[in-house]
């Protein structure tokens, strides 16, 4: 078929940021998948709770301290996280490097406290269905912190190499920050479930 040129794309930028970037949409799609997963496990929690004569089953409610501490650390981390996203948008390499180091530390800190959170549930995963679902919720969220932490560490290392100063890397930093927001926000209903529903 003959071709007739009707449009010149040559002036378009060679890379897009934010909603122009396919990775941004891909990250959003993966958040939708994982968000559905979280919602389903919470649904399982509520389902089992609705069947039980007493909840928690044969266990006291979990200790509030470690879980609340994790919540506070995660909420605090939102401030530098939003800042790093802004710095990445401005492509400020020096600030982004500092921000990535801070975010790496703020990724490790909740994991350290989480080590104490599992025993604070005061029930084992193999004691009963309550223990199983509480451990699964906490474990699932921990997996997300670990995944994003590894991503943050690798990206932080990358930002200190000569490949760091690239619009694509700044886009990666923004997508990574968006994903961390997701990890923090999804924790809130899980925290409410594990610590406060068990106290109703």
């Amino acid at each position: 078929m003959r071709e007739k040129v009707v449009l010149d794309l040559g002036r378009l930028p060679p890379h897009g940021m934010g909603t122009t970037s396919v990775t941004w949409w891909g990250t959003l799609a993966f958040m939708l998948i994982e968000g559905t997963g979280f919602a389903l496990v919470i649904a399982v929690y509520l389902y089992l709770m609705s069947l039980a004569a007493a909840w928690p089953i044969n266990a006291p409610p979990p200790d509030l301290l470690p879980g609340t501490l994790v919540t506070l650390i995660l909420l605090t981390s939102l401030a530098p996280n939003i800042l790093i996203s802004r710095w990445a948008e401005q492509q400020d390499l020096r600030k982004v490097r500092i921000g990535m180091v801070i975010m790496s530390i703020l990724g490790i800190a909740p994991l350290v406290v989480r080590v104490f959170e599992f025993p604070a549930l005061k029930v084992s995963w193999d004691s009963n269905a309550y223990g199983s679902v509480a451990w699964t919720l906490l474990g699932l969220h921990t997996t997300h912190i670990i995944t994003d932490l590894v991503d943050t560490l690798v990206l932080a290392a990358l930002m200190f190499t000569r490949r760091g100063n690239n619009e694509r890397r700044f886009g990666d930093v923004r997508d990574n920050a968006m994903y961390w927001n997701f990890v923090v926000v999804t924790w809130l209903p899980i925290y409410g479930c594990i610590y406060w529903l068990a106290r109703l």
């Binding site: 794309l9 040559g10 122009t20 396919v22 949409w25 997963g37 009963n128 269905a129």
Partner: protein, 637 residues
């Protein structure tokens, strides 16, 4: 004159046509040899592989079906024992649903969606390569386990407590559950790629109301995958946890619940039906245009019907549980929603009939499969409305009536359009036409064989024959029809055999196809058969719903993309206005390494929970290798 392709910043406008195509071919080529085959990220090569693999699983599943029909042909048959029979029907169902039906629909989309929206590769092409290897590994694991007498034997939906630690000794149920993990990873990955491709990589001018119906169907399907498949991941993971580390999700003695399994499974399992059916409906709406020789009637109604079906699909799952003893009010709600979903299906059927009515039908093989589909699917839909009613369902639950119903909707509703689509798109897949004579023969054998095989099963079900029995006694009134069904299955098998022979022979020595042999209106026919590695030398610009029919003498295109790096066009979500020239990743071996590491972790974790800890390390290393920038032109910004 053309300049060497390696000059930095070379744009297509600066090159003559031959210089342009050779520069693009150099930039987009897959390296030759084994390494290239393993490292390729070309959606067409991967899509072809996916389709081929899915059809191998179809043939294997068909062999299992044939074994069951031989066993059931006569009462008290001794060919297969009860244990092996349990494995065979479980394998047949799991294989057909998870390794054939869902992957084959996604596979067709992987090949054709980028072509139909006018882009050069799928979004996240390395993830696409990864998803294929994971799919292959999951399928291989299931079949190797079956060969080792470790095949799952708990039915394709693996109800607890049968599949739980108490009754499901050994590793058979774990093989089923982990096969789920493999296929879900690959299906979810492909769904993400397709959503982003359709959202952001459409040709300029392809606004939302100019997207081909098949592409709409794939978009809705991908969202169904994204929203439904996490449910089966949660289900199979908790089942593995119950079996491996002693959790109590499904143990009523410790506060667990067996019906929880059914809820989770069917919250996935019912949308699953539409994950298979919607792409098929999209195929019908797309194929009907060139063969009715007019645009499909009611584009808006067709698209709205797809979306409505996608939403209603999540409100039906309890109709699989009508005999589980749930509250009556719940049953009534799910009866109503099950009947409601017949409406969007009906709207589509009327649109297709109107298209044929007003068109000048050309009864080639693809159209025959469409008509066969309409007939068969309507019968399956009618029995669907019947089993939506609780009293009727209570009577026929777990009988051959249900077997007949879902084969009508799955084979009639999905496999018929798929076979039509393979005949239709074969030239774009291989560059050659399938034989029309053999195609007609295979259609009539499959259509007649299918109806003769499955229609009597309705009657067998009404006569009380249960599903999943490995044999029956001679004094029961079932043997006449069973023998008839088994003999009819030979006709059906012959039809499929002829289809496979036709496909293999045509791929080797069929008539060479032109660019657009059917005079079809959509963009995949605007390029060569098969398309070059870069799909389109210049990105098409779309001005309507049938771009190749609207302007028959010249195709509107856009220029200005670079030829020295893999570059494609990103456009806005609704209006498809150009936003950026984005790079598309080069071939890479890392997705294969990542898939191997993931496979080792998943299979190991059937045997030890520590596999998740230690096995995750190689997975992380391969993923870092995958994403670490390599300084190619694609990394420029």
């Amino acid at each position: 004159m053309s300049r060497p392709a390696t000059t930095p910043g070379t744009r297509d406008i600066e090159l003559q046509r031959t210089g342009l195509t050779s520069a693009l071919a150099e930039t987009w080529k897959t390296p030759s040899g084994l390494w290239g085959a393993l490292a390729t990220v070309d959606h067409k090569i991967i899509g072809r592989r996916y389709i081929l693999t899915a059809f191998v699983f179809l043939a294997l599943g068909g062999v299992l079906a044939a074994l069951m029909r031989i066993q059931l042909a006569l009462p008290e048959a001794r060919l297969i024992g009860p244990d092996r029979y349990n494995q065979i029907f479980t394998m047949h169902g799991a294989n057909m649903m998870f390794l054939f039906a869902v992957p084959v629909m996604e596979a067709v989309a992987v090949y054709f969606v980028p072509l139909m929206v006018g882009t050069r590769n799928i979004a996240f092409p390395r993830l696409n390569a990864f998803s294929y290897w994971i799919y292959l590994a999951g399928g291989a694991m299931l079949w190797i386990a079956f060969a080792l007498d470790m095949g799952p034997d708990v039915g394709w939906f693996a109800y607890v407590p049968l599949s739980g630690p108490q009754y499901g000794a050994g590793k058979r149920a774990d093989i089923w559950a982990q096969m789920i993990t493999f296929t879900e990873i690959s299906a979810l990955a492909v769904a993400v790629e397709l959503v982003v491709t359709i959202f952001k990589q459409r040709a300029p001018g392809m606004t939302l109301n100019r997207i081909p119906v098949f592409v709409w169907a794939i978009l809705v399907t991908s969202f169904l995958v994204i929203m439904a498949m996490p449910a089966i991941v949660v289900a199979s993971t908790s089942l593995i946890l119950d079996r491996l580390v002693g959790t109590h999700f499904y143990n009523p003695a410790e506060g667990g619940d067996v019906l929880l399994w059914q809820h989770l499974f069917w919250f996935f399992g019912h949308p699953e039906v539409y994950i298979i059916f919607l792409p098929a409906a999209g195929m019908v709406s797309t194929l009907i245009e060139p063969f009715a020789r007019r645009p499909a009637f009611g584009y808006l109604a067709l698209v709205m019907a797809l979306i409505a079906t996608g939403i209603l699909a999540f409100g039906l799952w309890v109709h699989h549980m009508f005999v589980a003893g749930l509250p009556r009010l719940g049953d009534s709600f799910f009866t109503a929603s099950s009947m409601a979903i017949a409406m969007p299906a009906g709207i589509q059927v009327f649109c297709w009939l109107a298209t044929l009515w007003d068109g000048t039908p050309d009864f080639k093989t693809p159209l025959l499969f469409i008509i066969g589909f309409i007939v068969t699917f309507v019968i399956g839909g009618l029995t669907g409305v019947m089993v939506a009613s609780v009293p009727f369902d209570t009577q026929v639950h777990d009988t051959y009536f249900v077997v007949a119903h879902f084969h009508y909707v799955l084979i009639g509703g999905a496999v018929f359009p798929l076979l039509g689509a393979i005949h239709y798109w074969f030239p774009k897949l291989t560059g050659r036409m399938m034989s029309e004579r053999l195609g007609q023969w295979s259609f009539w054998l499959i259509f007649a064989g299918f109806n003769a095989t499955f229609f009597p099963m309705h009657i067998l079900g009404l006569q009380g024959m249960p599903r999943r029995i490995y044999t029956y006694q001679p004094d029961l009134p079932w043997h006449g029809l069973n023998l008839f069904v088994s003999l009819s299955a030979i006709v059906l098998a012959a039809g499929f055999l002829l289809f496979f022979i036709n496909a293999i022979r045509s791929a080797r020595s069929g008539e060479v196809a032109t660019d657009n042999p059917w005079n079809a209106p959509t963009l995949e026919w605007a390029t060569t058969s098969p398309p070059p590695s870069y799909n389109f030398a210049m990105i098409p610009v779309v001005g309507g719903l049938q771009p190749l029919w609207e302007n028959r003498d010249a195709l509107s295109v856009a220029d200005g993309l670079r030829t020295d790096r893999r570059e494609l066009l990103v456009t806005t979500l609704a209006e498809a206005e150009p936003q950026a020239r984005e790079a598309s990743p080069q071939h890479s071996i890392w997705p294969l390494w990542a898939a191997i590491a993931t496979t080792i972790m998943l299979i190991w974790s059937i045997f030890s929970p520590w596999a998740v800890v230690w096995g995750a390390i190689p997975v992380a290393i391969t993923l870092i290798g995958w994403f670490w920038p390599k300084g190619t032109p694609e990394d420029e910004s």
